[in-house]
């Protein structure tokens, strides 16, 4: 952005912010330095682009007319409450927590955005305080190259296209989620007309934005729908586990079992996302776990173990 354009935009913003009545294009052209010398057609183009620039920063330019009874020319203004960062009084402990949040994002566009958020807070009188030596250190890394494009698309509500399993997929992205260190994008798959998760490391062609910002609405229950990325226990089995052993089954429910189990083992009902996951976990535990039922999974464990045994 040139210095001249920045100057024009700041002046336009101030003009729209300091007025209570709607200002017409004609008035804006007269009072905003930078529009005055433009020819008619050039002014119209400039003005449209400038409004877009302001909207891209999240500044809403209201349109309306001053006179309710006469067909007045349409005018513009900015509501101060929509523009300004409200006063926020943080305690010193809260400022330390904010400083810690400032260190969470590693090497990604999210780190830049967080730094810019701090500029706003500092300008508003709240300075995140990094002086306390933190005893907690949350860090999130982003190694997936498509993250930046998708983040921008999620925030601005722009459709994206990317390769997945060798196919081109089109998505209205709603959310980016990290689970166990891996990033997923969640949104409406336009081909399948259903909400879907895509793992960023599995992209086979880079994500590209398609079309305009604000192209769709994010459903109000997107957050709830996203919960499904949490494991759903579709497969259940009865397993004998050595008491006190560390395992990856999550919730276990003690159950009665008629058969004999070796000493030191107790019987539980366990659930995981897939039958294959149960078989793998039981095999990983070696003699500390026995899959008791159902019979077909029991056979799979035996087969799996034979692949390792002598």
């Amino acid at each position: 952005m040139t210095q001249r354009k920045s100057e024009r935009l700041v002046n336009l913003l101030i003009a729209l912010l300091s007025t209570r009545r709607f200002l017409t294009r004609h008035e804006l052209r007269r009072i905003v330095e930078g529009y005055r010398d433009s020819a008619d057609a050039a002014f119209e183009r400039q003005f449209e682009r400038d409004k877009e620039e302001l909207r891209a920063l999240g500044i809403e330019v209201e349109t309306g007319s001053n006179d309710r009874f006469f067909e007045d020319e349409e005018g513009y203004r900015i509501n101060r409450a929509d523009f300004e960062l409200p006063e926020i009084a943080f305690t010193s402990a809260e400022l330390s927590a904010l400083a810690l949040a400032g260190q969470v994002w590693q090497d990604s566009v999210a780190a830049d955005h967080t730094a810019q958020a701090f500029e706003a807070l500092k300008a508003g009188g709240a300075a995140p305080d990094p002086s306390l030596v933190p005893t907690v250190r949350p860090q999130v890394s982003v190694s997936e190259p498509d993250f930046d494009v998708l983040y921008d698309a999620v925030v601005r509500r722009v459709e994206v296209e990317f390769g997945y399993g060798g196919e081109t997929r089109r998505l209205q992205p709603w959310q980016l989620l990290q689970r166990r260190g891996r990033w997923y994008v969640f949104g409406l798959d336009l081909e399948r007309q259903a909400d879907r998760f895509f793992k960023l490391t599995r992209f086979t062609a880079p994500a590209k934005q398609r079309g305009k910002a604000g192209a769709y609405q994010v459903p109000a229950d997107a957050n709830m729908l996203a919960q499904r990325l949490e494991p759903v226990n579709d497969a259940v089995a009865v397993v004998a586990l050595r008491t006190g052993i560390a395992h990856n089954f999550g919730e276990t429910e003690p159950v009665e079992w008629d058969g004999v189990v070796p000493d030191g083992l107790a019987v539980y009902r366990v659930g995981l996302a897939t039958a294959a996951a149960i078989v793998t976990e039981v095999a990983a535990a070696g003699p500390d776990a026995i899959l008791l039922a159902p019979e077909d999974l029991r056979a799979q464990v035996v087969e799996h173990l034979r692949g390792v045994a002598s």
């Binding site: 920045s6 500029e119 999620v154 891996r182």
Partner: protein
Amino acid sequence: MRSGTQLTRLLRLVPFLSTRPGVEVSSVAKAFGVTEAQIIRDLEVLQFCGLPGGYVDDLFDVDLESVRDEGRIDFRNAEVLSRPLRLRPEEAASLLAALRLVVDLAGDSDAASSAYAKLSAAVGSGNERLKVSVVPSDPGHRAALTEAMSGSVVVRLTYHRPGTDGESNADVEPVRLRLVDGYSYLDAWSRPRQAWRSYRLDRITAVTPLEETFTTRGDPPTGWFDDVAEQLTITVRREAGWVAEYYPTTHVEAEGGNLSVTFPVASREWTVALLLRLGDAVVAVSDPEVAEAARARADEALFNYQPAVE
């Protein structure tokens, strides 16, 4: 760089400067993460901005010559922009997601969660666009550890060790909670081992503060497997390539139709469990002793599946 970057900065620079008369150019540059030359360029734009009207009194008042001479900024007549531009959507999303993590890691009762509440009320949290899910751990354990860390109190940990029977105890000097790939860890000096150790919080079953305090030993290592010298290379068939994505690796190489993956070894038990998990997808193992241990454990496990003798 996005085109709105300078504009965003200008709209925060004005309130920042007008509330800090005589502020040094160098400290402004530091607060906004740009060069001093850029701050001067920003001022060159702002000197021609202000209320519409075009009179000298309408413009912001800044004397660039004295800024260049003295390295200090006096910025006046800026009441029209007394508050900074609010957080842009992408800034709010990244800061709130980061702060959410601090809350998840540090526990609900502290300053992080009140800072989160204030910030989301001020900027409007809306739909969470960025989310990092954390494997849940006991808030009581986190609170006990946080308190022990701030008072340098030795604690007795009771925890599950993967691949072992029952629970282990260790008296440790807790120094830091860390979040890596969605899991929370405690970094602590282990007294029995006389070494830094990381403990996964979801594997800790009890935290008991002892009567004793400790003197700090300096910062624990920052790396993830710093205290692990041993490495193991296994060759797996393509279909088991997920292991390279799932576990920390130091080297991955394609070998014909197979994948050769080198891991830092957390413990012998972990490696044996990994081989059991992979089953017949393993083609070769660099350490024959580990391969033998896995075979023996599989044999032992298979014994449990023999038909009962009538």
